[in-house]
């Protein structure tokens, strides 16, 4: 028992001094104290910005988020058309969804009071269902310095520009295992890219196999949709990466190189054992014209379905543009051969140096087979359409590439001008640099307008190709020496298009230049060659702007004829051709198994 002290009796009365001070109480408790500026209150979603990737749904540990279709919003490339709906009977306001939001569309307001007697009200789609806090300016946002997503790509090891210039060795080395895992783990598995990929490859699926180091499964996934994985892993135009949701805030995933990484891990001789394709013959025959990516892809898928496939190729080797149009420093032959060899190993019969229309008649193919697929590609270079373009020192880009690929000397000389801004122009320029020429690239518009891959442009710049932009060639003249040629070109000014199209270059007559080169490489586009088609079939095929109109499954109005590749699609790249081949196979299978289109 404590001793009683007078101090202990009197001191507690000090409590009364508080009654002379201002009370602690808030007068208007509900309005007086809004949430702090970064309070994690109710969600706000900018549905214009949101692409419906569903990463918020994935990270939510409370299963509070559903991705739901929204009125007036449809799925399109790069946007699933779904939007997150929150269940406020589940949400715990941890804001992980805000932190991980790939587009930064999701944020939180500082509103926090929501009271109702109907518990089913607590489900809402922010941005769609109007809520009083939609316009609150304050509230939690992800700190810009803090990200749960990995926005940076591991640096790809590449040959330096100097090293590259000395050889035709592959420039890109491919990921190291550590890099591959780091890169693969950046994927959020939203599946948005699948729609973008023309072949609709299971991209998140095979990226996952890299994380799990299960390359065999990866290869199986790749070969479900794309028999040219090794090739596409190198030269694909990777439109999937443009729509990768990570690209909204950072660098998109290097999907292409991850694909390459998988195929690089598996030697060609193990393909058969891993993929274990079992073919049940169905006795039907399909002829394929052109052993490019489109043709071989169709051959692969048709073969898997049990068709007897014969491919007719005019060149010595299969691969088409992949072999003759793409230089080996981008796509080494062995990588291409790896893919082609596997396709051929399935029992596809291929007839080299057999040009349809010369060695064999299209009509024969048409009659002997149950269906015909052709993807002959664009192999006729377009002319410059200026005076003097028939000068012998004016070469076509394709020709140069083809010569180099066939180990012939293209004879370009030491000082070369390349006209054009597409991939062919870049390739031609870089090839010329490698065989020791000085290269100047002339292009009508600006660099950002160039249709070539940005990486290619960058690499061309690094390899010291001289870029002369906004240069419109006017006239090609003979030079003093036979080995030279003179070009007259004028500077152009970019004029904004009134109709909102892209700006158009207008020649400035007073700023003309004249240069002389050893040769001029024209690489401004290609067209197809359909001379092998019999007239009656040609009549049946509809074409628009030089491209054939085909159905969803590459079928033409002649039910037996299927067309794919550059001559049928607008994008004119390898992966589209592969996709066309695949779809044609589906279409042919549908038609034939339904008993349509038989002889």
């Amino acid at each position: 028992m404590p001793k009683m002290k007078l101090k202990d009796i009197i001191s507690p009365f000090y409590v009364w001094q508080r009654s002379f001070e201002k009370p602690y109480t808030n007068n208007k408790p509900i309005d007086e104290r809004p949430g702090a500026p970064s309070y994690r209150g109710f969600h706000v979603n900018d549905i214009e910005k949101c692409v419906g990737c569903g990463t918020c749904e994935t990270i939510c540990m409370n299963n509070a988020i559903d991705m739901v279709p929204v009125e007036n919003l449809t799925a399109q490339v790069g946007d699933s058309g779904l939007r997150p709906r929150f269940d406020y009977g589940r949400c715990c306001w941890c804001a992980l969804c805000v932190d991980i939001c790939t587009t930064s569309s999701l944020r939180m307001s500082n509103e926090y009071a929501w009271v109702t007697d109907n518990p089913d009200d607590f489900r809402f789609t922010p941005g769609v269902d109007e809520k009083p806090w939609d316009d609150h300016p304050l509230g939690y946002r992800r700190d810009p310095d803090y990200s749960l997503l990995k926005l940076e790509r591991p640096a790809m090891t590449m040959l330096s520009a100097e090293e590259g210039l000395n050889s035709f060795d592959e420039v890109v080395h491919g990921f190291t295992p550590e890099q591959a895992i780091v890169e693969a783990s950046r994927c959020v598995e939203c599946n948005i890219c699948v729609a973008t990929c023309p072949a609709h490859m299971n991209i998140p699926g095979y990226i996952k196999t890299i994380r799990e180091q299960d390359f065999e499964q990866g290869l199986r996934l790749l070969y479900e949709t794309n028999p040219f994985s090794s090739t596409c892993g190198r030269i694909c135009t990777h439109r999937c990466e443009d729509d990768c949701v990570i690209s909204h805030l950072g660098k998109p995933l290097a999907i292409r190189w991850l694909k390459r990484y998988i195929t690089d891990q598996i030697p060609a001789e193990k393909y058969q054992q891993i993929l274990q394709h079992k073919i049940t013959e169905n006795g039907k025959k399909v002829a394929i014209v052109g052993a490019g990516p489109g043709g071989l892809s169709a051959a692969y898928f048709l073969r898997l379905k049990g068709y007897q496939v014969s491919v007719y190729e005019s060149a010595e080797k299969a691969g088409g543009m992949l072999r003759y149009g793409v230089p080996t420093y981008r796509l080494p032959d062995d990588a291409l051969d790896k893919d082609i060899d596997y396709i051929l190993s399935l029992g596809v019969s291929i007839h080299y140096q057999t040009t349809v229309g010369k060695e064999i008649d299209f009509q024969v193919l048409y009659d002997e087979n149950d269906a015909v697929f052709f993807s002959t590609g664009l192999n006729v270079p377009s002319g410059l359409r200026i005076k003097g373009e028939d000068h012998p020192r004016v070469l076509s880009g394709l020709q140069v590439l083809c010569d180099v690929a066939s180990q012939r000397d293209p004879g370009v000389g030491k000082k070369v001008a390349v006209i054009g801004g597409g991939n062919v122009a870049m390739d031609a320029a870089r090839v010329c640099r490698r065989i020791g020429a000085e290269v100047t690239i002339l292009y009508r518009r600006r660099i950002e307008d160039m249709p070539a891959d940005p990486e290619e442009i960058e690499e061309a710049q690094a390899e010291k190709c001289k870029f002369v932009t906004q240069a419109i060639p006017g006239l090609i003249e003979k030079a003093k020496s036979l080995k030279q040629v003179v070009i007259q070109w004028g500077e152009a000014e970019m004029v904004a298009d009134d109709n909102g199209g892209r700006p158009r270059p207008v020649l400035q007559e007073d700023k003309m230049h004249t240069d002389s080169y050893d040769c001029i490489i024209s690489a401004i586009g290609q067209a197809g060659n359909y001379s092998f088609l019999p007239e009656d079939i040609k009549q049946q095929l509809v074409s628009q702007r030089g491209k054939f109109t085909v159905s969803n499954h590459q079928q033409t109005s002649n039910t037996k004829v299927f067309i794919g590749g550059d001559i049928a699609n607008k994008t004119a790249d390898a992966i589209s051709a592969i996709a066309d081949g695949q779809n044609a196979a589906i279409g042919i299978d549908e038609v034939l198994s339904l008993g349509m289109g038989t002889k």
């Binding site: 507690p12 009365f13 000090y14 409590v15 009364w16 508080r18 009654s19 001070e21 009370p23 602690y24 109480t25």
Partner: protein, 307 residues
């Protein structure tokens, strides 16, 4: 007969006034305590609403006949206490049923309600009620000692057992109030009053963190409102009694309000400053200093005042 009817009518009027006043006072006190706690506190009408609400509850369950009677006894205790205390000195209207020995009856009635409550709460069957009642009775018996001593001192001092005569004896200036003529008796009585009002440190009966609500744990709805009404009346009666015995009574309503408020503030001032005693500490406290002072008061009266 007419005399009694008037008397009863006047009494009922007094009861209602004291009840309303008691409720208002409790709200004022609650607000005062809230102020010390740094807040606004309940509105003044809150006690009335609480009572009405409890009356308006749709269900009420009973644990037996004594459970019914508990609050009734309690209220009877309050009403009885008030019945024999003249509220305003000199006013026929507010003099109630005072008679020569009324103080003894009042002392009895102060006990009565508590006992009735004990029966009711016991029937409720809740252990906290039982503990609370045990505590309440223990504490009451202990604070009754100094209080009784103080009353005895006053009775001896004024040589009467009638409250109105005690008040009358204190008229004629504040120096005639018992508080100045016999401070020991008042000290003992006020210490007992601390226990009677049930504020800390003597809130062992209700003791929210020990035996929440105590005896009233099982009471609800109209039972509870009866008890709340009684609390107001009983508090009023006690205040008036103390005012009459020790602070010279009240000649008019204003004086009544001022004095009773001031008396009520004393336990409040102590109450917010101290935690709660344990019950045996409380008993020990009352049986020590206040009792000594009470004894002293009698001696003081006997040997100094009356000399």
């Amino acid at each position: 007969m007419e005399y009694w009817i008037t008397k009863i009518a006047y009494y009922l009027l007094t009861v209602s006034i004291v009840m309303v006043y008691g409720l208002l006072l409790s709200a004022v006190i609650a607000k005062t305590m809230a102020r010390v706690q740094g807040r606004v506190g309940i509105p003044l009408y809150q006690p009335f609403i609480d009572i009405m609400k409890n009356f308006g509850n749709r269900t009420a369950i009973s644990h037996g006949i004594m459970f019914y009677l508990g609050p009734v006894f309690r209220l009877a205790g309050g009403l009885g206490t008030l019945a024999f205390i003249p509220v305003i000195y000199g006013s026929e209207m507010f003099s109630n049923f005072h008679f020569a020995g009324d103080i003894l009856l009042v002392m009895y009635f102060i006990f009565f309600g508590q006992l009735g409550m004990a029966l009711g709460a016991g029937e409720g069957g809740h252990p906290y009620s039982a503990i609370g009642i045990a505590r309440g009775l223990a504490q009451m018996t202990s604070y009754e000692v100094p209080f009784a001593l103080a009353v005895i001192a006053v009775v001896v001092q004024y040589d009467t057992a009638s409250i109105s005569q005690i008040v009358a004896a204190q008229q004629g200036g504040f120096m005639n109030w018992t508080v100045f003529t016999n401070p020991f008796a008042v000290a003992a009585a006020m210490l007992a009053f601390l226990g009677m009002t049930g504020y800390a440190p003597f809130d062992v009966v209700m003791a929210p963190n020990e035996i929440p609500i105590g005896p009233a744990t099982e009471f609800h709805s109209s039972y509870l409102s009866l008890m709340q009404i009684n609390r107001a009346i009983f508090a009023g009666a006690k205040l008036v009694l103390f005012m009459n015995l020790f602070f010279g009574g009240a000649g008019n309503l204003i004086e009544l309000v001022a004095k009773t408020w001031a008396i009520y503030m004393i336990p409040v001032i102590v109450g917010v400053a101290f935690p709660r005693f344990r019950v045996e500490q409380s008993v020990r406290f009352f049986l020590k200093i206040p009792t000594l002072i009470g004894v002293l008061a009698i001696f003081y009266v006997q040997y100094i005042v009356l000399k």
